[in-house]
Amino acid sequence: MAKIVVVTSGKGGVGKTTSTAALGAALAQSGKTVAVVDFDVGLRNLDLVMGAERRVVFDFINVIHGTAKLSQALIRDKRLDTLWLLPASQTRDKDALTAAGVAKVIAQLRQKFDWVICDSPAGIERGAMLAMRHADAAVIVTNPEVSSVRDSDRIIGLLDAKTLKAEQGERVEKHLLITRYDAVRAGKGEMMSIDDVLEILSVPLLGVVPESQEVLRASNIGAPVTLSDASSAPARAYCDAMRRLKGEDLPMTIPSDAKNLFGKLFGRRAA
């Protein structure tokens, strides 16, 4: 039985798809069977970030409509044979994703995999609500920036009210993942610190992914950042986050590839 995780944020462009691909690949590398599911109907991108865009034949909506079987729509990763992708449809029909259809597909995925990672679209519309609907756990991706933190607060409220778990009187396990963090700027007081963000959102910290050129480089070549260069700072941050997601208790460090003295002083400072 899989654990269902939603990667969500409210705000767009903070790193949901990058984080879904990186965490999914890291879990698969640790020996688990993983499905990453794109819920962004009409604007799918997880296939592109994973480097599988030319292998999409059937998609999530085809499975919901019964025009394809789940096994036909799932794309196996070429690098990791325990990692699978369920791509979103590029249809412009916003109502194509139905509550009953999503429930059916999630139930099937739950049987087949150890982990199912749902990449939520931005916003709080239908797609985002359906992506969080069946979640056992949520990874809330936040940049240390005012609009992202405000939207994360909004999403946390929805996770506590509009998910199946919440409606059954249970709680969705919540984890905060801070991305695009610049320890040097935070040290100078130019960027909110980890403590600032944690104080405002009061959600346990899953990890801190530093701002890094490696993230763009990885997406350029269509590889999850944990696979493109496993020794890079963001890859190490995502691997630590993955281990915490699995329940390991690791000391919180912020990996860095900073070369200057200031970076060395502040880059590894824990939260």
Binding site: V146, V149, R150, D153, G189, M191, D196, E199
Partner: protein, 83 residues
């Protein structure tokens, strides 16, 4: 920024504390995290309803001011009681 501002501490101090404090005030009043954080909104609505039950005034004639201090939020009600 001129060369003189370079030596001006006010200009060089980071803006992160401003961001943090603005967010704290905003999120305390937006009340998106269930009923607990919307306490002020609920209190305000119920107190106005009670006032209107005992004094013959329209609900929109009850003046309510919401304030925020460092450690607490305040609600001030002003009702003109007809003679």
């Amino acid at each position: 920024m001129s060369i003189f501002n370079w030596f001006n501490w006010e200009h060089r101090r980071g803006t992160a504390p401003v961001a943090r404090d603005r967010l704290k005030v905003l999120l305390a009043h937006e009340g998106t995290r269930g009923t607990k954080s919307d306490l002020l909104g609920l209190l305000r609505a119920e107190i106005v309803a009670v006032i209107c039950r005992y004094v013959s005034v329209e609900p929109d004639k009850v003046q309510v001011k919401m304030g925020r201090r460092v450690k607490a939020s305040t609600l001030a009600f002003e009702v003109e009681v007809p003679a």
